[in-house]
């Protein structure tokens, strides 16, 4: 793209052309160097950064409760400080859902870290203060997984946000801002928004909106599209230490090429893109996003060159009448303790130790909602499907869960005594007692689309 931020979209002038949209963050905690390298190692027009997993919003809500100036992805403002000069020199604009539950504070921190950067904030996703209003209107907001009505956990809700679509983000791009900052924007919307802005796509262009949504799904998990976490010849995927993050070269007609910067590690191939397309997929004919419903059975992939996969043929249908809410709530306490037993009879020793711990907890009358034991090294990942014989060492891993913090805390003192009083050869207790953690659970639900009104605020 060679548009200046002041230009209002290439479609208006009739010379729309290919734009490059990269993703440099698959979740909060992804590689800090990735966005910097994307902007330094080759041409891109838009840099998207996805910081929010399902329960990230609740963690941010807790941080905001402790300090009203927090509640956003704190890695984001220093990153913009680091890349601001490059962004301005190369006219690269950043689109991120780093705002969490406090996008205004995040925008102010960005302005502090990079004073020359203009920030547009998309507001309106945070509905925590409207939950009772929604319940009053008769919206039950039943859990999409369990069907339970929201009223059953009303007093334990920590955060509530709507997954918003790409059109408010596109509107924010049109303000000419260098950074477009949202709260709980849906992950694929981050990549779809610049296509809407640049190509002038409308709210009923279902096939194109579906294509942009699929592009967003392919790159939203970062390097899962470029050879990370890939089963296909993983030993031969080059230079994972310097893996290139994914880039989409988008065309106005909805076709696009998935690629990465030349000279970076990793690989882009149709086998790898297929793995990412299938990731966390439900019914492939009904991939529901805020802006459309995409049909994954219409996606056509072609390997058109080294590290280049062309994606075409995507069809979509009408957007859903409801928007999805991401609600989080306090759901009790848990702790997970471990001990290691060595050969010989490592598994038998670990099993005997598990019985001792359970017997002692029964004598103490600790009534947990759940006790779960795994034998790490034998069956923790694959259960009864795993095959092994006489392993050299086994880690006993016992987890407990309860709404009563006290009994979870009591459990954390029950493992270490076994070093002296249990089967022989116990070790691996160097970390001491395991921490008791509060469980914050995710509650997906629906509200009518009309309830969510987005607005844009510009700083700078």
């Amino acid at each position: 793209m060679s548009l200046t931020p002041e230009t209002c979209g290439a479609a208006a002038s009739g010379d729309a052309r290919m734009i490059r949209i990269a993703n440099g963050q698959g979740f909060w905690g992804d590689w800090l160097e990735a966005p910097v390298r994307l902007i330094e190692q080759g041409p891109i027009d838009y840099l998207t950064l996805d910081y929010l997993a399902e329960v990230t919003m609740s963690i941010l809500q807790k941080q905001r409760q402790a300090d009203p100036t927090l509640g956003y992805a704190r890695d984001f403002p220093p990153l913009i400080g680091r890349i601001a000069k490059r962004m301005l020199d190369r006219n690269v604009r950043v689109i991120a859902n780093a705002g969490g539950v406090n996008p205004v504070a995040c925008a102010e921190a960005v302005r502090k870290a990079a004073p020359g950067i203009k920030v547009a904030i998309v507001l309106g996703d945070d509905v925590l203060s409207r939950i009772d209003e929604f319940l009053g209107k008769g919206y039950e907001m039943r859990n999409l997984d369990t069907c339970a009505p929201l009223a059953t956990i009303r007093d334990r809700i920590l955060s509530a946000n709507a997954y918003t679509g790409a059109f408010p983000l596109a509107e924010a791009i049109a303000t000419g801002a260098h950074v477009i900052l949202a709260g709980r924007a849906a992950d694929p919307a981050l990549a779809l928004a610049p296509m809407i802005h640049e190509f002038g796509w409308r709210e009923t262009d279902w096939n194109k909106l579906a294509a942009g949504t699929v592009a967003g799904h392919i790159i939203e998990c970062g390097t899962q599209a470029t050879g990370g976490n890939c089963q296909v010849g993983w030993q031969n995927i080059p230079d994972l230490a310097n893996i290139g993050y994914p880039i989409v070269e988008a065309e106005p007609d909805g076709t696009f090429v998935v690629t990465k910067h030349p000279g970076t590690g990793g690989r882009v191939h149709s086998d790898i893109v297929k793995e990412q397309l299938l990731y966390e997929l439900g019914d492939p004919k009904n991939f529901i996003a805020p802006d459309c419903t995409a049909d994954f059975t219409t996606i056509h992939l072609d390997d058109i060159g080294p590290d280049r996969v062309r994606v075409s043929g995507i069809q979509g249908r009408e957007r859903p009448t409801n928007l999805k809410l991401s609600i989080s709530y306090a759901n009790g306490w848990k702790a997970i303790g471990t001990l290691v037993f060595s050969w010989p009879q490592a598994l038998e020793k670990a099993q005997a130790a598990d019985q001792i711990v359970r017997s002692r907890m029964k004598q103490l009358d600790l009534q947990f909602d759940e006790i779960h034991t795994e034998y790490f090294g034998a069956n923790a990942c694959h259960g009864h499907i795993a095959r092994f014989s006489d392993p050299p060492e086994i880690q006993l891993r016992i987890g407990v869960r309860s709404s009563n913090r006290k009994i979870v805390d009591r459990f954390t003192r029950e493992l270490i005594p076994l070093v002296l009083s249990g089967p022989p050869g116990a070790t691996g207790y160097g970390e001491g007692r395991p921490p008791v953690r509060e469980i914050v659970s995710y509650w997906p639900a629906l509200v009518p689309r009309g309830e969510i009104k987005s607005s844009i605020e510009v700083l700078g």
Binding site: D145, K274, L278, E280, T297, I439, S441
Partner: protein, 105 residues
């Protein structure tokens, strides 16, 4: 001839709440009809046994040479409340590579 699924296909798995999804993708499109015939939802349910408490659903993506399975109630409650080492089912796709299928093409 019996072969493990991993000889003809690769997998990617993830989660949605307490449901794990496993995408199964053939390396060579000529094996796709065989995959569709052999790797039924019943077969996958039987293979995982009591690791999957709920039903198994199957969806076909012939355009990608892929099947998508939804394994309901497979993640010990799922999400942050689960006590497992793999509450997101990231390794369940690899487990399925071991299932033996009749290779007759």
């Amino acid at each position: 001839m019996k072969v493990p699924l991993g000889k003809i296909a690769h997998t990617r798995s993830g989660d949605k709440g307490d449901t794990s999804n496993i995408g199964v993708i053939v390396y060579d499109l000529k094996d796709y009809p065989l995959l569709v015939n052999e790797l039924t939802a019943e077969r996958v349910k039987a293979f995982f046994g009591d690791l999957v408490k709920g039903k198994v659903e199957r969806f076909e993506l012939p355009n990608l040479g892929a099947l998508n399975f939804l394994l309901h109630e497979a993640l010990g409650g799922g999400g942050t409340a689960a006590l497992r080492i793999d509450p997101q089912g990231k390794t369940l796709g690899a487990a399925l590579l071991r299932v033996e299928i009749d290779y007759y093409i």
